[in-house]
């Protein structure tokens, strides 16, 4: 009896603690039953893997350079790298000028995912906008920041139900800079990053979904879209340059593309079962600030358009938002399965 009372006291304490966090509008700390050693190994992987990649590239590069006699100059060409110049990000902005004049560097060729045993365990979800930054809005006042949070919460529940670990960049109506979002994602050591947004299209009859991963664009529409999503002004020029250099580091770019394709496919298949007329606006690259700052495969999904009255009406329905969350979930799962199969 005494032990039951003790257990009850402990349970009550934890129940109260969780409620206090709820009262304060904070997310309770995760009490995972998973052994701490697992997290340690996981952290070790993230430290060791980049070092191993760097060492491998360096050693093989040195060997090849010595073989070609170029090693002494220090300008040798590692065999994993190519010297093709970077495609210039043709953006008619001051950033583009700086980028074009930046010293050229060798773009690594993609490294196959078989090099490392990859798996998706932790997903970082980023509900777009929030707080003072409301994003776009429908004519009748439905706000992007609310929709993205709602869909992200639904997606989180689905992912957690499937044993993924999930971190959210925001769980309430907080104003969060792009820098902060990237920082949170990197600190959480997410395996992938999914930013959720809702679009506004000039053609108000147009509908459709599109998914982005980081890269340059010369499409004026995408430039405008990126400018509007990057609108918090927190992106420095140097960061943009550094980020676009990182874009070409093979694995991350390739994995981002694969994730974007899986999510886009899933969104499209799901939404077309409701309405065959939903347009495939495609998988695209664009320099979104939030993708620039993340260090893991990252995508930004525009899951609809508030400019469309049809979409706005649909977004009002919780079951449609659940449907969208399920489509995103399917896409992430498909990507994760594919990753596990290929690295097995």
């Amino acid at each position: 009896m005494a032990s039951v009372t003790r257990v009850k006291q402990r349970l009550l304490r934890e129940a109260v603690e969780e409620n206090v966090f709820l009262v304060q509008g904070k997310r309770p700390p995760r009490r995972s039953g998973r052994p701490r050693v697992y997290r340690g190994l996981r952290a070790a992987f993230f430290v060791v893997a980049p070092l191993a990649l760097f060492s491998l590239t360096y050693v093989v590069g040195r060997a090849a350079a010595e073989k070609t006699g170029a090693g002494a100059s220090g300008l040798g060409r590692p065999i994993l790298l190519s010297r093709e110049p970077l495609p210039s990000p043709v953006v008619e902005t001051p950033q583009a000028v700086v980028l074009a004049s930046a010293p050229s560097f060798a773009a690594p060729e993609p490294i196959g995912r078989e090099v490392f045993p990859l798996a998706v365990r932790r997903v970082v979800l980023d509900p777009g906008h929030g707080g003072e930054n409301r994003g776009t809005a429908s004519r009748d006042g439905l706000m992007e920041k609310e929709l993205t949070l709602d869909i992200a919460e639904r997606l989180r529940a689905l992912l957690e139900g499937a044993a993924f670990e999930v971190e959210m960049t925001r769980t309430d109506d907080a104003t969060l800079s792009l820098a902060r979002r990237g920082e949170l994602a990197n600190r959480a050591e997410g395996d992938i990053f999914v930013s959720i947004h809702v679009n506004w299209l000039e053609d108000t009859d147009a509908r459709g979904v599109e998914t982005f991963y980081l890269g340059p664009t010369d499409d004026p529409y995408l430039e405008r879209l990126a400018a509007s999503e990057n609108g918090d002004g927190s992106l420095r020029l140097a960061e943009l340059r550094e980020a676009l250099e990182r874009v070409y580091a093979g694995v991350r770019r390739e994995e981002s593309r694969a994730l974007a394709e899986a999510v886009q496919r899933s969104l499209l298949v799901s939404l077309r079962t409701l309405d065959p007329g939903v347009r495939n606006r495609g998988v695209k690259t664009a320099p979104f600030g939030v993708l620039i700052r993340t260090q893991m495969p990252a995508i930004l999904a525009e899951v609809g358009a508030l400019s469309s009255e049809v979409d706005s009406e649909l977004f009002r329905d919780p079951s449609y938002r659940q449907y969208l969350a399920e489509a995103l979930f399917e896409g992430i799962q498909a990507y994760s399965r594919n990753l596990s199969d290929n690295s097995a």
Partner: protein, 348 residues
């Protein structure tokens, strides 16, 4: 436990509330226990208001007068339906009514503090809980929200090596009790529950009797009166109109198939959760599976689930004696046991 401490604090009225999709119940430290159907209805027009002579009807009364009402079942899968101010208003009416039945108005008149513990589905999101806090604001002095199966486990003292399966109308909630407050991985929520059985029964009935005219409420009542799994002891005969003429239908097979459609979902989740427990405790967990909630009243359900456990080494499944009140009783036990200092932190 609740009764023992009932007279512990004369200045407080403690409440345990099980807010359910189909039915909600309240247990109070003054001994009151009430259950109502989770329906709220407002008169559709002036004529209806004149006939009903009330601004709002709640529970069975609302169901019985539904033709004159703008009727709401404000809880979907055990949570406040989203995007609807009417749903929030309906939940507040429901709570107000439940609390009035439990003697809250008298308690307030006497200057007592009112504290409530409300159970929600195991996988309720934080936003859902915050919505509930908003709906309860001003109705109680302090509020604690816990997962429904945890409340059940607490009330039954089933805190260690027990698997609680709380079968409601909107959700079936699972909770593995390991002597600690349940973590996310200890809990699971399925949407296959009482309403799911209703849907299956409706589809099967309509497929074999397309000429009959039935509503969801009729089907739901059939299930509540005659549901079973396993071998049928009696034929299930119900009445439904065909072109206005009352006609009898034997729905034994349909009822059995609809109720048994629940079994694979519950069995699979039950076995999966048990298989995640440390191996040395799995047999004890299998031997302590507890079914609660209104849908646990399906005849033969416990025996069928116990049979299903045979494939993983056997176990024992029991249905609690009072499955409808066990959640609110558990909530009440928590409310009474929580120390004063903790309640101070949880003001509504």
């Amino acid at each position: 436990m609740a009764k023992e401490k009932e007279s512990g604090d004369e200045h407080v009225l403690n409440l345990g509330i099980d807010l359910g999709t189909s039915r909600s119940s309240v247990s109070a430290s003054n001994g009151a226990r009430h259950m109502i159907d989770s329906y709220v209805g407002w008169p559709v027009d002036m004529v209806a208001r004149k006939v009903i002579k009330r601004d709002v009807l709640i529970g069975r009364e609302a169901l019985d007068n539904r033709l004159m009402l703008d009727l709401h079942r404000p809880l979907e899968r055990g949570l406040i339906r989203e995007g609807s101010e009417k749903a929030i208003a309906a939940v507040r009416e429901l709570l107000r009514h439940l609390m009035a039945l439990a003697g809250v108005d008298e308690a307030l008149e006497k200057g007592l503090k009112v504290r409530a513990v409300v159970g929600v589905p195991a996988e309720a999101l934080r936003v859902n809980k915050q919505q509930l806090r908003s709906a309860m604001s001003g109705l109680v002095d302090s509020l604690m929200i816990v997962s429904e199966p945890f409340a059940v486990a607490y009330g039954l003292d089933a805190l260690l090596h027990a698997l609680i399966v709380d079968l409601g109308a909107g959700t079936t909630d699972f909770c593995v009790m390991k002597g600690r407050y349940p973590r996310e991985e200890d809990q699971r929520t399925l949407t296959q529950a009482g309403d799911f059985v209703d849907q299956q029964l409706m589809q099967l009935f309509q497929a074999s009797n397309p000429e009959a005219n039935v509503t969801g409420h009729m089907v739901s009542e059939w299930k509540e009166n005659y549901s079973f799994v396993g071998e049928a002891r009696d034929r299930v005969v119900v009445e439904a109109p065909v072109q206005g003429k009352p006609t009898q239908f034997d729905i034994t097979e349909e009822m059995q198939a609809a109720c048994e459609s629940l079994l694979p979902h519950v069995t699979e989740t039950m076995i999966d959760l048990i298989s995640r427990v440390e191996p040395e405790y799995q047999a004890r967990m299998r031997g302590n599976v507890i079914l609660s909630g209104g849908t646990a009243l399906i005849k033969g359900l416990g025996v069928s689930l116990q049979d299903a456990l045979q494939e993983v080494g056997g176990g024992k499944v029991r249905v609690v004696k009072d499955p409808v009140y066990v959640g609110s009783d558990g909530g009440l036990a928590i409310a009474i046991d929580a120390p004063e200092s903790d309640w101070e932190l949880l003001q509504a």
